[in-house]
């Protein structure tokens, strides 16, 4: 198992380099001058030149990138051109919101999706058709619209949950949770559809396999066959799908955070893009990439735990 993790980690280094290089090069084409942005229009030419030099803007892009990487290795992601806040600090402050959304959404979607999928696999043809349509509806309708509809019904009409805004956990765990209910549900609906469909298909093909017939021929109860043996056989495709879904949740939070005005990475990245706040965009891109790498790593570990052939090696 460790070789797999090591391999994945080794691959993630060039990946991070490539992603940061792509954004760096792209951002270097952005019209406008960061030094001007920081200083405003009233600065003197001397101040301006000094800042340009301090920000390495007088250097070629490759050198700028190299200097950026050097700082990165020392844990310095620079600071925002607007607020002057350290980018690392900003990420540390916004990350918990996004993580809560992604993890909450993944848990909800996996749980509901797997149960629904297994249920529909063991029912008749009509309920399967109905389920197909419902799951397609869930995956087809854009999540920001679902979010708006949930707000319209549960927040505006009934007032069950706050429509927008965020309460930190430390302030009030109850309100923190209440504020996350609608965002997590909106994020996970597409995922529920995705997971349940994959689970259903995997379940149906697993139930047709020879070893399931052996178990049936041995008089094993259907509940044990379905929930113990067949579900275990679906492990690999389902875990892969959960991983893929989690990866789509990461950018998915951008829209959801904007609908609910949650102070997460998604709202931050949209604002930073609009303001050409390069260091923040850079830092966030790297953070998002690291999140993707961590999810892939988790999937790999789960994979090797699920597969007796890999585990044995």
């Amino acid at each position: 198992m460790f070789p797999i993790i090591l391999r994945r980690l080794a691959l993630s280094v060039p990946l991070l380099l490539i992603v940061s290089a792509i954004t760096f090069v792209l951002e270097s084409f952005v019209p406008g001058d960061p030094a001007r942005t920081v200083l405003g229009i009233n600065a003197t030419q001397e101040q301006y030149d000094a800042l340009r030099a301090a920000m390495h803007l007088d250097q070629p892009v490759a050198v700028q990138y190299w200097l950026y990487l050097r700082d990165l290795l020392q844990g310095d992601l620079g600071s925002s051109l607007f607020s002057g806040e350290s980018v690392l600090g900003l990420i540390g402050q916004r990350l918990p919101v996004t993580l809560a959304l992604v993890i909450g959404g993944t848990l909800l979607a996996s749980l509901v999706g797997v149960v629904l999928g297994v249920y529909s696999a063991t029912r008749g043809r009509f309920s399967r058709r109905l389920f197909d349509i419902l799951s397609l509806l869930g995956s087809a309708v854009p999540n920001f619209w679902i979010a708006l509809m949930l707000v319209a019904v549960f927040a505006v009409k009934f007032g069950f949950f706050p429509a927008t805004g965020y309460t930190p956990f430390a302030e009030s765990p109850g309100q923190w949770a209440a504020g996350l209910v609608l965002p997590v549900i909106s994020l996970s609906i597409g995922g529920v559809a995705f997971i349940s469909k994959v689970t259903r298909d995997a379940m149906m093909s697993t139930l047709g396999l020879d070893h399931i017939r052996t178990l049936r021929a041995s008089g094993i109860r259907p509940s044990s066959i379905v929930w113990k043996h067949a579900l275990r056989g679906c492990g690999l495709p389902v875990v892969t799908t959960i991983g893929l879904m989690m990866i789509t949740f990461i950018p998915g939070t951008i829209l959801i955070e904007n609908v609910f005005t949650l102070p997460g990475l998604g709202t931050t990245v949209v604002d930073a893009t609009n303001q050409h706040d390069l260091p923040v965009v850079q830092g966030l891109t790297i953070t998002f990439t690291v999140m993707v790498i961590v999810v892939n790593l988790l999937v790999d570990v789960l994979y090797s735990l699920l597969n007796p052939k890999v585990r044995a090696e």
Binding site: I18, L215, A217
Partner: protein, 586 residues
């Protein structure tokens, strides 16, 4: 030259057009009409729209549907229908561009990697890995920062990064196709790589392109409208579907109506893309299974009628009896009878051969006795009796009580007959606990598992119990499967081609084991096989089946030395023998 088999019923020509047949399915067909209809309406917006999309009518803001404004007006009194028609343009253009890039890069990268393999493959796969790990939406935001509010630039970026997923699918199908025997055969026939790709590979891949394209169209639509919603893709007053949702959201508290209209058209379009994609996939699956259509309902099993008719009672002395037993399968052409009113009895302590070639109905007969027919098959007449109890037509719940403890199965492919995720020991103990009625706790179950594994002559029972199926050879696995079948001390053991997948030296050992188990436990064994050598080796009596009917039944000596039916004679004559020919009776 001997007989030439009759060709099976001519089927229609295999279709290569992936859309063929979509009109016979109402839901995907309707969705396809919606996709085309909305697209055409959006393209013809200047002709169809009742008002200019930006014309304000401040006297009629937020009016509901009326004759002048079929879908009402927005907060500035602009006509909603006209804005939807014009607003679809950036959205659909964006989706179209994304799909073009997606299909182009996905297809070309996938085929190059999958067919050329080697270094090209390794490089492309590495690139694909990077593309899939990049948070594409974030890069898109960066692109939007450079090309301010450029819908095209954003959607091209999305299409490019998403194409990695398609390239992976195409690559693996391409690799699978390369490994197909017919590609080997084409190579041996002397075809060059270009011709193989053109004739054998490309046509089979284009069919696979459509499903992902339609599914991706839905995603691209969601992303495009999402960008529009954030106000990133289309400059302000101009309408776009996502932007209209954003405008509607701002007045949601006063009037949620516009939210339904704008979101509804996005949802409808997106759903239609998905439905067409799913429909095409179903069609493709049907074609691959060559059923020519979906299977209809299984044939209903006839109710166990006349249960007390005298002729329906089990004959004395037989542990298993089958009377006027028929089995049918539902097919696209209607029900097909595969076993046609057969009757036979098996006595305790006897090895009874069920002999026939493919399509004779021998395996189906065996499975039906356990109630394990596939869902589209059913017993349509007659009855089966096990130790004086009627077992045909029993509800599933009661069958579960019988399976494993009264009647058990040893199947053909030992390599796939056991659950790969559990150790031998845990699978056996589950069966022991379920059927073995072992008094006492864990230790008693473990002892019983050890005894069972010993009884099938496995040398190191504890070691075997700790292993997973993939760590054992085919012969050992078949012994484990037999041990599992013995767990409930069944009266009848159905062995369906138990040695067909095994080497001949291993086969001899398994047949020896079955015989010795019969001697020890006195159960009846029904040995289903196509191999007359196996019948001669192990069976006491046998039944020869041809196309669902019994052609001959009797002690094996009679069958081999005094065959009455010409089919039996032909079978014996065709079976090659390793023995010196003078020993054979032809």
């Amino acid at each position: 030259m001997t007989t030439v088999e009759a060709p099976p019923k001519a089927r229609s020509r295999p279709r290569t057009n992936p859309f063929a047949g979509i009109w016979r399915r109402p839901v995907p067909a309707a969705a396809f009409v919606v996709v085309v209809g909305i697209s055409v309406a959006v393209i013809l917006a200047p002709l169809l729209a009742p008002h200019p999309p930006l014309a304000q009518d401040l006297l009629h803001t937020l009016s509901g549907p009326s004759a002048n404004h079929p879908l009402g007006t927005d907060v500035l009194g602009r006509d909603v229908l006209s804005r939807l028609l014009y607003g679809g343009r950036p959205t659909l253009i964006g989706v179209g561009l994304a799909v073009l890039v997606y299909a182009f890069f996905g297809m070309s990268l996938g085929i190059l990697a999958g067919y050329l393999r080697g270094w090209t493959d390794r490089v492309i796969v590495a690139v694909l890995d990077v593309m899939l790990s990049v948070p594409a939406v974030i890069i898109t935001l960066a692109v939007l920062a450079i090309f301010h509010q450029s819908n095209a630039a954003a959607m091209l970026t999305i299409g490019f990064f998403a194409s990695a997923g398609l390239a992976r699918i195409i690559r693996s199908s391409c690799i699978a196709l390369r490994e197909e025997l017919f590609v080997d055969a084409a190579r041996v026939s002397g075809l060059g790589p270009a011709r193989i790709m053109a004739r054998h590979i490309l046509p089979r891949l284009t069919g696979q392109l459509l499903v992902p394209v339609f599914l991706f169209s839905g995603n691209a639509l969601a992303i495009q409208t999402g960008l529009g919603f954030l106000g990133l893709a289309t400059p302000a007053p101009a309408p776009s579907w996502g932007g209209m949702v954003g405008e509607a959201a701002q007045i949601m508290q006063q009037d949620p109506y516009l939210l339904f209209v704008s979101g509804g058209v996005i949802g409808l379009m997106s759903l239609s893309f998905g439905l067409v994609g799913d429909g095409l996939r179903d069609l493709e699956q049907d074609r691959r299974q060559a059923t020519g259509g979906r299977l209809r309902r299984p044939v209903p099993a006839t109710a166990p009628q006349d249960a007390n008719k005298p002729s329906d009672a089990p004959p004395d002395g037989a542990v298993l009896a089958v009377r006027d037993y028929s089995i049918a399968f539902a097919t696209a052409q209607g029900p097909r009878t595969v076993v046609d009113s057969i009757s036979f009895s098996v006595r305790s302590g006897e090895i009874f051969g069920l002999v026939g070639e493919s399509g004779s109905g021998k395996t189906v007969t065996g499975l039906s006795l356990l109630g394990l027919l596939p869902p589209n098959g059913a017993v349509t007449s007659g009855s089966a009796w096990l130790a004086g109890t009627r077992i045909s037509g029993l509800p599933e719940r009661e069958l579960q009580g019988i399976r494993g403890s009264e009647i058990a199965l040893v199947s053909q492919e030992p390599m796939v007959a056991l659950d790969p995720y559990f150790t031998i020991g845990s699978q056996l103990s589950e069966v022991v606990r379920r059927t073995g009625a072992v008094p006492g706790g864990k230790e008693a179950v473990r002892q019983r598992v050890r005894d069972l594994l010993t009884s099938v002559h496995l040398r190191d029972p504890d070691g075997v119990a700790r292993r997973h199926p993939h760590e054992l050879s085919g012969g050992m696995l078949q012994r484990v499967v037999i041990a599992m079948a013995l767990a409930g001390s069944p009266k009848v053991l159905i062995a369906d081609e138990p040695t067909t997948a095994l080497d001949v030296t291993v086969q001899a050992g398994i047949l020896d084991l079955l015989r010795s188990l019969r001697d020890e436990h006195g159960m009846a064994i029904i040995l289903i096989t196509h191999d007359l050598g196996v019948v001669a080796d192990s069976c006491d009596r046998a039944l020869v089946m041809e196309q669902g009917r019994i052609v001959e039944e009797g002690p094996v000596e009679d069958i081999f030395y005094r065959p009455r039916h010409p089919y039996t004679r032909q079978l014996i004559a065709s079976t090659p023998s390793i023995a010196p020919t003078e020993g054979r009776i032809a």
